[in-house]
Symmetry: C2
Subunit: 303 residues, 2 copies
């Protein structure tokens, strides 16, 4: 099924996006967001996170969200599960795709999930085993693949080590997170050269934040390196928790505009995504962060 001119977009808006917005939305609005996103042709939509609502209030009631979705409609709804408790809840409400998340930076791992990288992998082991036993699809996130807010630049070898460990735990896909968006094309090329030498590139996803405006340039390099799975967030939902007022997730519309221009197929309707972005931004009371979304919306008004 995977051909060189086909790219899978993994929509991050309902999870990584909303998780980093100030306003917490109701489960009903989140479900409606997911439904609208699915109607644009997106086939992979991250739907929630089974983490403590004390730490991430925006993801509270992810069980309600998940149980409201049709898991038999051919659309994948991955959810984050940090531990067995989260996994069990996710499974109980119908999740078939679960994701675990580790970091390539020791400092980030300790500050973000309060344990070392090695400890986090041990914590994921039973989750991964249970997910595989259930025949679930398992995704592994690696954060800080090009830079860490505490340690600065991160070496590709550190990313390789944790990516390989996640694959050994059974992750079918590794999502490479440039969590603070400090990566540039040169660093992206270097990272993917190291990874693609050791790991199957078709199992790598690019999860690049646009904090410094570099995401599309970095994605271009990733595409050239053979990556065909891209994480993006409708309307660029989600700011950067490490730089107040700065951007976070790259906008799905910006990515789609580039892919369309390059003749890469996604099956996703750009105009439809612009509509969904405008709708959810009204709920959030903020304009879309995606430049393509703003330009396309402006063009509609003037036409």
């Amino acid at each position: 099924m995977r051909t060189d001119d086909r790219v899978t977009l993994v929509e991050m808006g309902p999870r990584d996006g909303l998780q980093n917005e100030a306003a917490a939305l109701t489960p009903a609005v989140r479900v409606e967001l997911i439904r609208r996103l699915a109607s644009t042709g997106l086939t992979h939509i991250e739907a929630g996170a089974f983490v403590s609502p004390k730490w991430v209030p925006q993801m509270a009631a992810s069980d309600t969200v998940l149980s409201s979705l049709d898991h038999d409609a051919g659309i994948r709804y991955p959810v984050l599960v940090p531990n067995m408790k989260g996994f069990e809840t996710a499974r109980a409400v119908g999740a078939r795709d679960v994701s675990v998340f580790a970091a390539a930076s020791e400092s980030f791992s300790r500050k973000n999930i309060n344990c070392s990288i090695a400890e986090s992998l041990e914590r994921f082991r039973p989750v991964c085993e249970a997910a595989r036993a259930e025949g679930m699809r398992l995704r592994g996130y690696v954060s800080c693949v090009m830079g860490c807010p505490y340690e600065g630049p991160i070496q590709p070898q550190a990313v390789l080590t944790v990516s390989r460990a996640l694959m050994e735990l059974g992750c079918e896909e590794i999502s490479l997170g440039d969590t603070i968006g400090t990566g540039t094309p040169a660093a992206t090329r270097q990272l993917l050269a190291v990874l693609a030498d050791e790991l199957p590139v078709e199992q790598l996803a690019a999860h690049f934040h646009d904090t410094y405006g570099q995401a599309l340039a970095n994605l271009l390099v990733a595409l050239e390196a053979g990556v065909r799975v891209i994480d993006a967030s409708v309307a660029g939902l989600g700011g950067c928790p490490y730089a107040k007022g700065a951007s976070g997730n790259v906008g799905t519309e910006d990515v789609l505009y580039m892919l369309n221009g390059m003749g890469l197929e996604t099956g996703v309707d750009l105009d439809g995504v612009v509509d969904v972005g405008a709708w959810i931004c009204e709920h959030l009371g903020r304009p879309p962060a995606s430049k393509a979304a703003r330009a396309l919306a402006a063009r509609r008004v003037s036409n």
Copy 2:
């Protein structure tokens, strides 16, 4: 002097930037902006336009701006001159670099400068002859190199034709303007392949707008094609007149962040440009449009 790892940034803020901002600034503020930009290491700063203040009020009193600058300090201050009248005024106030501007789209030429492309070139002929006779540096802008608000996509051959004509008139550099920012990496690659086949790539500059968020990805392709001159605007000053609320010029900070990360030398201090951008944005009463500028400013606050 030109080596493969050196890039010349041509700062557009005081002209193409301010020209597309709602607020018209006084000549004194514009001079101060130019001085501050020069202090960051920028060596090419577009300083004004000798066009009718009726059409472009933001560029009124460009003669006052020009005559306030030190033209012997090793910094180039190109100015737009649409005709002999503008040229004579520019010369009288010390301009040593003048630019003419044509379009790759007939419709855009007629709507923007009220004549056909061929007529515009004839109008520029005496300007170019006079500039060369004076030993001035002559730059030619070509707008709509990848798309036109009236005609849609533009063929590379049309860009080649007008670029070659401008070179024959004596332009030492052709600035390729993606005026409405609709270009994507594939179109950029195609355009530069056609141009570099016929014209010296070292005489081409990339002037890409970020309206659809594509500018850095397109610049990466241009760099790979050998282009080493990039037009950019501090803080991303300048919206898009063809899409209200959308972005225009790519931010100097975003470009510089990418170039620094790629090990390409510019001699320009990124932190200094962030400072200048914050300062001018206060005068304009709007936040910087550059993502790198916002992220770097946010990082300072949190440190």
